[in-house]
Structures are given as structure tokens and as C-alpha cells.
């Protein structure tokens, strides 16, 4: 599986992501700086976590308007798989590639801890290695992870089975509507999630339950 990681000023989980992709796919991802205008032809493009542009204006807002995004839109239209984690999820919503918005955590605190996730839809390119309804541990680290969308959008996400991951067992850390932790676009090729699966891929991390996201993508490549 060929992959690329987009890097913005203020990205800080890019190295974790590169390591996860290299470890699981056996190939080094291409790194694409936000000022570049072409993303190489790959199977998967990842927008990593961090604080692009210092979260100025709104989380992900400035990054979503950077030069590289035009080509990301082109890739999205072509059906290239796109994964946004944490700040990457925020950027994808700001860019309009995913619906809704990620607002300040309801408790106002930055949360950095391990939560429980439920594979709410295990029949997607990003989650097929999990069992339907499987609950697994995953770390989160964010200040703006409170998913919001209007009632109509939420209904569509629910009825179209586009909520891939939910916070389970009362571990919703941020007030997200419907316990949403990760959603996908209509065609199922673009997914954004606040938790960090790339931080739970080897025993040294304390578990490997995040690997499923990447092995699912590997199988789909």
C-alpha cells in the first residue's frame, strides 16, 4: 500500500503516523508539505494530528485553505482513500470533505487519555478488521473534539451508517453528539476520527488495538 502524509506547520503527530504506516504497510509514506500543489498517486493520504497554524481562527481552518488542499480535493473526487486523525479530522471538516464541525470540548479541558471506542460500522474500508460492535481501547489527545452537526446531517450520518467509531461505555471525553468519534463521507473513502489509532500499534504502546484501522486499509489497497 502506497501512502502519503500531509505535513502542515504545527503538525506534531506526523512522525507517529509515518511510523505506523511504515510498520504496517512495509513502505515509507511520501511526505507532502502543505505548500506543495501535487500529492503523488498513492492508495492512502493521511492528515495527521497536531495544531496546524497554531489552531488560529478555528482548529484546522487555515490548513484547510492551504495550497495542497486543492489536490486533496481532486484525490477525494477520484476516490483515493483519505484518513484524517485528530487535527486531520478537523481539517477535513473545515475543507468540506466531511460534514459537521469539531468544537471546543464540552468540559473545556484538553483531554489526553485512553477511551473506549466501538466499531459502530465494521463494514468500511477503515474498520473491516474489527468485529461489528467491537469495543477497544484508543488514546485521545485534543481540545476541540466535540463533534457537532445539525439534526438533518446527524440523521443522514446515522441512517447511512456513516458513523464508523463511537465512544463507548460512557467514555465520551468531549460532549460529541451521538458519541461520535469518527465518520466517513458518502462514498466511504474519506474518514476522520479524533482518537489516535497510530499510538496503539505495538506492545510497547500498551496494546495494538489501533492497528485495525491500518490493516483494514491495507486489505482494501
Amino acid at each position: 500500500m502506497k501512502s502519503a502524509v500531509l505535513v502542515f506547520p504545527g503538525s506534531n503527530r506526523d512522525r507517529d503516523m509515518i511510523r505506523a504506516l511504515e510498520d504496517i504497510s512495509g513502505q515509507k509514506p511520501a511526505l507532502v508539505w502543505h505548500q506543495e500543489t501535487t500529492i503523488p498517486d498513492v492508495d492512502l493520504i493521511v492528515l495527521p494530528g497536531g495544531f496546524s497554524y497554531g489552531d488560529y481562527l478555528r482548529s484546522g481552518a487555515i490548513a484547510a485553505r492551504s495550497p495542497v488542499m486543492k489536490d486533496l480535493q481532486r484525490h477525494a473526487t477520484r476516490g483515493t482513500k483519505i484518513l484524517g486523525v485528530c487535527n486531520g479530522f478537523q481539517i477535513l471538516t473545515e475543507a468540506g470533505l466531511l460534514p459537521g464541525a469539531l468544537m471546543r470540548n464540552a468540559g473545556l479541558n484538553f483531554v489526553c487519555k485512553t477511551v473506549q471506542l466501538e466499531a459502530s460500522n465494521a463494514d468500511t474500508l477503515f474498520s473491516r478488521q474489527y468485529e461489528q460492535g467491537e469495543v477497544f481501547a484508543c488514546p485521545v489527545a485534543h481540545h476541540d473534539g466535540n463533534y457537532f452537526a445539525d439534526a438533518r446531517t446527524l440523521n443522514t450520518l446515522e441512517s447511512d451508517n456513516r458513523i464508523v467509531f463511537r465512544y463507548a461505555n460512557g467514555t465520551n471525553p468531549n460532549g460529541s453528539l451521538n458519541d461520535i468519534a469518527g465518520i466517513m463521507n458518502e462514498s466511504g473513502t474519506v474518514m476522520g476520527m479524533m482518537p489516535h489509532p497510530e499510538n496503539l500499534i505495538e506492545e510497547l504502546h500498551g496494546g495494538v488495538s489501533g492497528r485495525g484501522v491500518f490493516t483494514s486499509l491495507l486489505e482494501a489497497a
Binding site: L57, T93, P99
Partner: protein, 78 residues
């Protein structure tokens, strides 16, 4: 021409920061505060002297960048 753009959360969108400010006002013993909503203010200087043109430009700026219209409304004051 100088303009001021005010961006606020739409009605019905939870504003945890506004709520925290409300709580703080209560702690300071201010009476009679019904609610507080937090927003953003942008002061923009434009080349044009035409109000119509300024409004048109600022509307585009708000829709494209200054406001996230999923959760925010904007108001332009010239």
C-alpha cells in the same frame, strides 16, 4: 473603508466557553446575567470606498474563511 465583522455561534449550538464565563460572572456575584455567548471580532480595512463592494467582498471572506457556517453566523458592520 473600515469594517467590523462579528462572528458568533448559531443559536442552539453549545458554547462551553460562554457557559464558563457565565459561571465566572456568577462567582463574581454579578446579578441578573441571563446568558453569555462568546464570539470573535475582525477589523478589516478595505481599499474600496463603495459600501456595496465592501459588503460583497466581506460576505465572501466570511463564507470562505472567517466563519464556519456550519456552526457560526456573521454580521458585517461598515
Amino acid at each position: 473603508m473600515k469594517a467590523r465583522v462579528v462572528v458568533t455561534l448559531k443559536n442552539g449550538v453549545l458554547d462551553p466557553q460562554g457557559n464558563a464565563i457565565e459561571g465566572s460572572l456568577e462567582a463574581l456575584s454579578f446579578q441578573g446575567i441571563r446568558s453569555v455567548r462568546q464570539g470573535k471580532v475582525f477589523d478589516v480595512e478595505l481599499d474600496t470606498d463603495s459600501a456595496d463592494e465592501a459588503r460583497k467582498t466581506l460576505t465572501a471572506i466570511c463564507e470562505k474563511l472567517l466563519a464556519n457556517t456550519v456552526i457560526e453566523d456573521f454580521e458585517i458592520k461598515l
